[in-house]
Every structure is written in structure tokens, then in C-alpha cells.
């Protein structure tokens, strides 16, 4: 079988954090090659490099045996590479037919538009993809699965020989998945190759010929699908070097700090979430991206107030309608995307650290800059933040240190409940271990900690109990002794009972 695409020795770093390390990957004609790995293993980065959206720091790409030194999105398209992402990228204000035409008629700026032909072609392609969608509808009015089908129609229309599907079924129902699979069969029969990325392992086994596992930015295994079974695959996905030790020590739990009962938030797709966390406890929250973990944190923190259910703090029912109320109730939230929601990059370390607790460093309404500095210096020392001084702008620090500054801001509010969302995402290994040690230290001081993470080893290593979420609600709770990677994955992928 001819090799359609081969990537060899691909490396890529983002601001000092290594995303890919000498990854090699190839795709044969008529093959479905699955790419699996945990969140953050480097799958997305790899496809971005293959489609020219990002440039590799090192390594070579070859399409049909010819080296492509400078891949760009336009180049990728002309080479017959099409990508279908988890999040469809349609133009909301244009019709379905126009969306399809845009990608297929690129470069014909001055040509008159044949609207009838456009419509006909769109209808044909949608038909081929097995979707019953009116080509005249605006893309913005389509549901997620419908948008996904339009993306597939685009790929068919482009006569793509290399189709990359990134979580294509994340928003599809069973019948639509069946249709997708028949489209995959069609593409493959025509000699195309498909790179299939999915968290849903049963699909991977159903559809793929070969599987490559990415872990921490490295391709750790490439095997024929027939030669590997599910437990072995999961183990390959999550396997860690032995020196990755978590500083977890058992501590006596205190009283219940926070309990939520039947919490719902329709706007965020959250329903009937019940959980509790005690003082001194680390409650891990696991689940796939989009399962409602971050939404749960945002609801508890009052960013998007709940529309049903109850939040109890130390046994007392409270209403939390805004972040400032949550802060007053002793809740702190270190959000996921620290650049967007966490730190203020243009402000110095000291001002960032005091932002949520300005009253504590103010006297008579005036910020006492000396007190602010002293407080910040205390945290720099305690959290071992590596910064030239507390007046350095946070934008100049590394990811791990930015995260620690975000943590300092919230610790300075004197919280009783600390919600951490992906506390070690995009943080290098050393800083990761320090943050883990900090979490343990905080729990020992009696804080109730809710730790959301996509990294199963982190969840297993740090948590006293693990809540697993699926589709906006809790699909299971595991005690530390019951929690294993397989069980968590099973609950996250295919819930037994809600």
C-alpha cells in the first residue's frame, strides 16, 4: 500500500513547554489510522502541524513521498488534506451551500457565481454524506451534529485523500455515527486515508486498522488494531514513568465543607449534580473535555448562577449569584485557562496576587503598597514563585509560575473551599510536582479542595475521592481505594447509571 502521508521526527514547543517530541507517524492509502492519547498528549498539535496551522520546530512532513518543507493551510488543501474538527468551523452567517462552495471554489475571486450549480453540488455532497440538510439554511442555525455533517460533505467535495477527523463523533448520536462510518468506508474504498482521533475507544476498535498512542508528546506505540485489546491500549495511553510519585499522605477529614444537591444549570448544560467535599479532602473531578467539569466549577463560583438545586456551605444553604458572593462565602476558584481567565498579564505579580483581596492590603480605602508587596513576597517565598521581583509583570513569567501567582491570589482570600481547574495544565514537570506538593499542604491545613483534571495519574495520585462526570452530570463516585484508571475511563466514556 502506498504511503499517503508521513511525518518523521516532529518536535514542537510552546513557550518552553514541549508539546511534541520526535513524533513519527504515517498513513497508508485505504487505511484508517487512529491516534489516541490523554488530553494534552499532543494529538491536536500533531494535526495542526499536518494541516499547516502550526509549524514544527523540527522534523519533516512528506505527502505521497514528496517532502513538504513549508506546509500551510492552503498547501495542505491543494495536497488533498482535509480536517474535520470537534468544533466545526463554519461561517455562521452564510448558507450551507455557500460554506461548502467557499472551501471548494477557493481562488476564483472574479468568477461569476452560479448559484444554482452551487446549490446542486451542495445537495449532492450532503446526500453523499448521508445528511438531510437544506443547502439554503444558514450555518448558524444548524445543530452541532448537522454542522459536523456539513464539514464531512466539504471533505468529500474536496476529494480529499487524507482526511483528519478530530473527535468527529463527540456531538453525534448513534445513527449519525453509523452514517459517518459508512462515509469513512467510502473514502477508504476510494483509496483515501483517514486519521481518526477519538476518546471513544470502542469506535477506535470498530473503525481503525492501526493505532498510534501519544503520551506526553511522544509516540509511544504504533500497532495493528487487531493486535491490541482495550485494557492494553488504556495502559499504554496512561502509563507513566515510575519516578512520578505523588506526595499524597492520608489525613483525617474534617466536617463537610461544601455540598451541592441536584445542582442544575441549563445554560451550561449541567443537570442534577450532587457531590460533597470535606475539610482536608481532595475531591478529584474527572471526565472528558465537555463533560461539564468546568461548568460545574463556574456554577458553584457564581459566574453563571445555578437555576436549580442547592449549594450548602458547612451545612447551611446559600445562594451564590456572583463571584464576589462566592469569595465572601470562602470559595476560591483557580480557572483552567490562566492566560484568559487567571492572571492579568500586564499587571505586576503583587497586583495580581492582591486582586481578589484588595481590602486585606488596604487601609481606609487606600491600597497600602508596602503591605501589598509584603504579602506578595510572602507568597513568592511560600509557593516558590520564580520571579525577579514582585513588581515584574506576570506576562514575563513561565507558565508554572503564572499558575502559582493565580494560586496566590486565591489563597490570599483565605478560602475554605478551593476549586482548581486543570491546575497543572501546560506546566513543566518540576513545577507540576511543586504544585502537587502545595495542594497536599493546603489540604493538610484543612482546606476542602475540588481538583478538576484531565490527567488521570494526577486524579488518582492526589484525590481522596473521585467524581466522574459525563454529559453534564455525575456518572460515578469512586473512593481512593476503588479508583483505577480503567474504572474512571469506563465511567467517563460509557456511564452505567446517571
Amino acid at each position: 500500500m502506498p504511503v499517503l502521508l508521513s511525518a518523521s521526527g516532529i518536535s514542537k514547543s510552546f513557550e518552553g513547554v514541549r508539546a511534541l517530541r520526535e513524533v513519527s507517524f504515517d498513513l497508508n492509502a485505504g487505511e484508517v489510522h487512529a491516534l489516541v492519547g490523554e488530553n494534552g498528549a499532543g494529538k491536536s498539535t500533531l494535526i495542526k502541524i499536518m494541516t499547516g496551522a502550526e509549524r514544527a520546530d523540527a522534523g519533516t512532513l512528506a505527502v505521497s513521498g514528496r517532502t513538504v518543507p513549508d506546509m500551510s493551510p492552503a498547501m495542505a488543501r491543494s495536497l488533498g488534506i482535509a480536517a474535520i474538527y470537534q468544533q466545526p468551523s463554519l461561517f455562521a452567517h452564510l448558507s450551507v451551500a455557500e460554506n461548502i462552495a467557499l472551501s471548494l471554489e477557493a481562488g476564483r475571486v472574479w468568477q461569476r457565481v452560479d448559484w444554482a450549480a452551487r446549490r446542486r453540488r451542495a445537495a449532492d455532497l450532503l446526500d453523499e454524506a448521508g445528511a438531510a440538510i437544506d443547502p439554503d439554511r444558514l450555518a448558524g442555525t444548524l445543530s452541532m451534529p448537522e454542522q459536523q455533517m456539513v464539514e464531512i460533505a466539504k471533505a468529500i467535495g474536496a476529494h480529499a485523500r487524507i482526511v483528519i477527523m478530530d473527535e468527529p463523533t463527540a456531538s453525534l448520536m448513534d445513527a449519525e455515527i453509523e452514517r459517518l462510518f459508512s462515509v469513512i468506508g467510502l473514502l477508504r474504498a476510494q483509496g483515501g486515508g483517514i486519521i481518526y482521533i477519538s476518546h471513544r475507544l470502542e469506535e477506535v476498535f470498530a473503525v481503525s486498522d492501526r493505532i498510534t498512542v501519544l503520551r506526553d508528546g511522544e509516540a509511544v506505540a504504533t500497532q495493528a488494531t487487531a493486535a491490541i485489546d482495550r485494557p492494553a491500549l488504556i495502559q499504554t495511553m496512561v502509563g507513566r514513568p515510575l519516578n512520578d510519585v505523588f506526595p499524597k499522605r492520608p489525613i483525617a477529614l474534617g466536617a463537610c465543607a461544601l455540598e451541592v444537591r441536584q445542582l442544575s444549570n441549563r445554560a451550561l448544560g449541567l443537570h442534577d449534580v450532587s457531590l460533597s467535599v470535606s475539610c482536608g479532602e481532595v475531591l478529584g473531578v474527572a471526565g472528558l473535555v465537555g463533560s461539564g467539569r468546568t461548568e460545574l466549577a463556574e456554577t458553584i463560583f457564581g459566574l453563571e448562577p445555578a437555576d436549580g438545586g442547592e449549594i450548602l456551605l458547612r451545612g447551611v444553604s446559600v445562594r451564590i449569584g456572583s463571584p464576589s458572593q462566592a469569595i465572601q462565602h470562602g470559595i476560591a476558584y483557580v480557572p483552567e485557562d490562566r492566560r484568559r481567565h487567571g492572571v492579568v498579564l500586564e499587571m505586576p505579580v503583587a497586583a495580581n496576587a492582591s486582586l481578589a483581596s484588595l481590602a486585606a492590603v488596604s487601609s481606609r480605602g487606600m491600597i497600602d503598597r508596602a503591605a501589598e508587596r509584603r504579602s506578595a513576597e510572602g507568597y513568592v517565598e511560600r509557593l516558590r514563585i520564580k520571579t525577579p521581583s514582585v513588581s515584574t509583570e506576570v506576562g514575563a513569567l513561565s507558565g508554572g509560575n503564572q499558575q502559582k501567582v493565580a494560586l496566590a491570589r486565591w489563597l490570599s482570600t483565605g478560602p475554605q473551599v478551593l476549586i482548581l481547574d486543570e491546575p497543572t495544565q501546560g506546566v513543566d514537570v518540576g513545577a507540576k510536582a511543586e504544585i502537587h506538593a502545595l495542594i497536599q499542604d493546603l489540604a493538610e491545613r484543612g482546606l476542602a479542595i475540588i481538583m478538576i483534571s484531565s490527567e488521570l495519574p494526577e486524579i488518582l495520585g492526589m484525590s481522596d475521592r473521585v467524581v466522574v462526570m459525563h454529559a453534564g452530570t455525575v456518572s460515578g463516585v469512586l473512593s481512593r481505594s476503588d479508583a483505577t484508571q480503567d474504572r474512571i475511563l469506563a465511567l467517563a466514556l460509557a456511564p452505567t447509571e446517571p
Binding site: 509549524r55 513549508d70 463560583f301 459566574l303 456572583s322 463571584p323 464576589s324 462566592a326 469569595i327 476558584y333 480557572p335 484568559r340 481567565h341 487567571g342 492572571v343 492579568v344 498579564l345 500586564e346 499587571m347 505586576p348 497586583a351 486582586l355 481578589a356 484588595l358 481590602a359 488596604s362 480605602g365 487606600m366 491600597i367 503598597r369 508587596r373 525577579p388 521581583s389 513588581s391 515584574t392 509583570e393 491570589r409
Partner: protein, 326 residues
């Protein structure tokens, strides 16, 4: 306040101050007449109202918003001060009422931006047009004349007014500069402009912050209109045309970024001094006054280009281009 912070954040203030110093040096040598008491006093009195508005605009721009309706608010408030005064109200009371009127207009702008979620450029474009044309319709273009004697110079003597106006403007400017640096509210202004999501998560009320900065700008515009109106014996209905551009230019030259999060009152003061001095300086140097706007435009371009070059996205662009060539 530390060395690093000073060095990092005061680059712009120093460069604008240097530009002013250079201009002054040239004038000292080539046209010492510029420094005559009358000329300086004229320049000062004409620009005190602009300074008040510019200081308010600094707050708005730091929060990442913009207000182009200040010229219209200025005109409406000026006319209102004259009409109230003519109706027999003491000038001090009329002045206070006009400041409140400005506050009301500013709050309206702010509430539409912060709570309805309309972009500030659109909101203030609408209020700019509505107020300007509303005024034209109401007055039919007629200037306010026959003002009571007490209106002129706020009822003070021609000698005392400049002192009072300068002190009032100076105190307000200093107070806002202090508040921006030392009050929690000032921190909220910077945080809202720099990263609204993070500011909200930190428990700051970003909507209230936005509304307040617009309201403050409205108040200061009202006050500026009064201070300006009392210098003349009639009030034009077309006052303040182009004021918004003058003010925004001063703020931007002073180092505030229109994307929010940076800027200082001191920078704005220096920016205004540089831009306001350019025109008269040209006259004294014997250069045609027609060059005034062109040179001011060039100053703004230089300032903005300096911002762009320092921005990481620009560095990445340059880096990528260099990488592509390599």
C-alpha cells in the same frame, strides 16, 4: 513603587516629556516670543477644559472602551449652563446642575455599554449624533446671548478666574491620578481593561466599573463645558466639534493603549501639552498653521507605532517572517 515598575511603565512618559523639552528648546532659541505671559496664559486657559475631558477619557480608555460623544455632551452642557444662568440660577448652582447633566449622559453611555452589551464606539456614536442634532433642533442653531453679568468668569474677576480654574482642574487631575494608582477602584479600572474575565473571577464588578468611568467622564465634560463657556459672552451651539479627537489623541500619545489595560493620567497630561503646544509653536516659528494637523497626526502615528512594535504579536510576526526567510 519600585525601580522595575518605574522603568517598565514610564517609558512613554519620559519620551513625551523629552519631545516637549526638545520643542521648548527650539522655541527658546528660535521664537522666545512663545513664552510671553499672554501667550502661555491663553494656551493654558484654552486647554484646561480639554485637560479635564482628557483625564476622564484616560479612565475610559484604560477600561478598553472609548467615548466619542464628549464633543456633543460638551456642547449641550455649555448651552445648558447659559440657559440655566439666564433663568436666574446662580452660576455656581447652574455649574453644579450642568455637571450632573454630564454625569447623566455619561451614565447612559456607560450603562448601555456595560449592561446592554453594545460596543462603546457604537453607543457613543449614537449619543454623539443624537445630542448634537437634538441641540441643533432645540436651539435652531441660535447661540445663547445676553448672558447675565455674573455668568462671565464665574462671577469672578478676569484676574482671579485663571487661578481658580487652574487650581480646580489641577486638583481634579491630581485626585484622579492618585485614585487610579492608590485606590482599589483604580485597580479595578486597569484589571477590567486588561483582562475582564480574570477581573470578574476576582470578584470585581466589571460592569459597574465600566459604567462609573463613563459617568466620571460625563461629569468632567460638564465641568469643562462650564469652565469654557464662562470665558465668552455668548455660547455657540456648535462648540466641542472635534473635541473627542483632540482628547483621544492626547490619551493615546500619553501611552494608553486603545485595547485597554494601560495608561496614566500623567501620560495624558504630557500628551495634551505636546499636542496643544504644537499649533501655536508652529505659528511662532513662522511655519504655516496648515501644517498643525498634519504634524499632530504624525505625532499620533509615531506614538501608536511605538506601541505596535513593543507588542508581542508584532514581535511574533517579525519572528515568523525571519523564520520563513531562513
Amino acid at each position: 513603587m519600585t525601580r522595575t515598575e518605574t522603568a517598565a511603565s514610564h517609558v512613554r512618559e519620559w519620551s513625551v516629556a523629552s519631545a516637549i523639552a526638545a520643542l521648548m528648546l527650539v522655541l527658546t532659541v528660535a521664537a522666545p516670543g512663545f513664552f510671553s505671559r499672554e501667550n502661555l496664559s491663553d494656551l493654558l486657559l484654552a486647554n484646561l477644559p480639554v485637560l479635564l475631558v482628557a483625564v476622564g477619557m484616560t479612565l475610559v480608555i484604560i477600561t478598553g472602551e472609548i467615548d466619542i460623544s464628549v464633543g456633543s455632551i460638551f456642547a449641550v452642557c455649555g448651552v445648558a449652563s447659559g440657559l440655566l444662568s439666564k433663568s436666574g440660577m446662580p452660576i455656581w448652582l447652574a455649574g453644579a446642575a450642568v455637571c450632573l447633566l454630564g454625569t447623566a449622559f455619561g451614565s447612559l453611555n456607560g450603562a448601555l455599554v456595560a449592561y446592554v452589551g453594545i460596543p462603546s464606539i457604537v453607543v457613543t456614536l449614537a449619543t454623539m449624533t443624537a445630542l448634537r442634532d437634538g441641540l441643533r433642533w432645540a436651539t435652531e442653531g441660535a447661540w445663547v446671548q445676553d448672558l447675565p453679568r455674573s455668568f462671565q468668569w464665574l462671577g469672578l474677576t478676569q484676574g482671579r478666574y485663571p487661578l481658580v480654574a487652574t487650581v480646580v482642574t489641577g486638583l481634579i487631575t491630581a485626585a484622579l491620578a492618585f485614585g487610579l494608582r492608590h485606590l482599589a477602584a483604580g485597580r479595578a479600572v486597569y484589571a477590567t481593561g486588561s483582562n475582564p474575565a480574570a477581573a470578574r473571577l476576582a470578584g470585581l464588578d466589571t460592569s459597574a466599573t465600566r459604567t462609573c468611568v463613563f459617568a466620571i467622564l460625563g461629569t468632567l465634560t460638564g465641568l469643562a463645558a462650564v469652565l469654557n463657556a464662562v470665558r465668552f459672552n455668548q455660547i455657540p451651539t456648535n462648540a466641542g466639534i472635534g473635541l473627542e479627537m483632540k482628547v483621544i489623541a492626547s490619551v493615546v500619545v500619553g501611552g494608553a493603549s486603545v485595547t485597554g489595560g494601560t495608561g496614566s493620567v500623567l501620560g495624558t497630561v504630557l500628551g495634551l501639552v505636546l499636542l496643544a503646544a504644537t499649533g501655536p509653536a508652529l505659528t511662532f516659528l513662522g511655519v504655516s498653521a496648515y501644517w498643525e494637523r498634519a504634524i499632530q497626526g504624525a505625532i499620533i502615528l509615531v506614538a501608536i507605532a511605538a506601541d505596535g512594535i513593543r507588542r508581542p504579536s508584532f514581535r511574533r510576526l517579525v519572528g515568523a517572517a525571519a523564520g520563513a526567510r531562513a
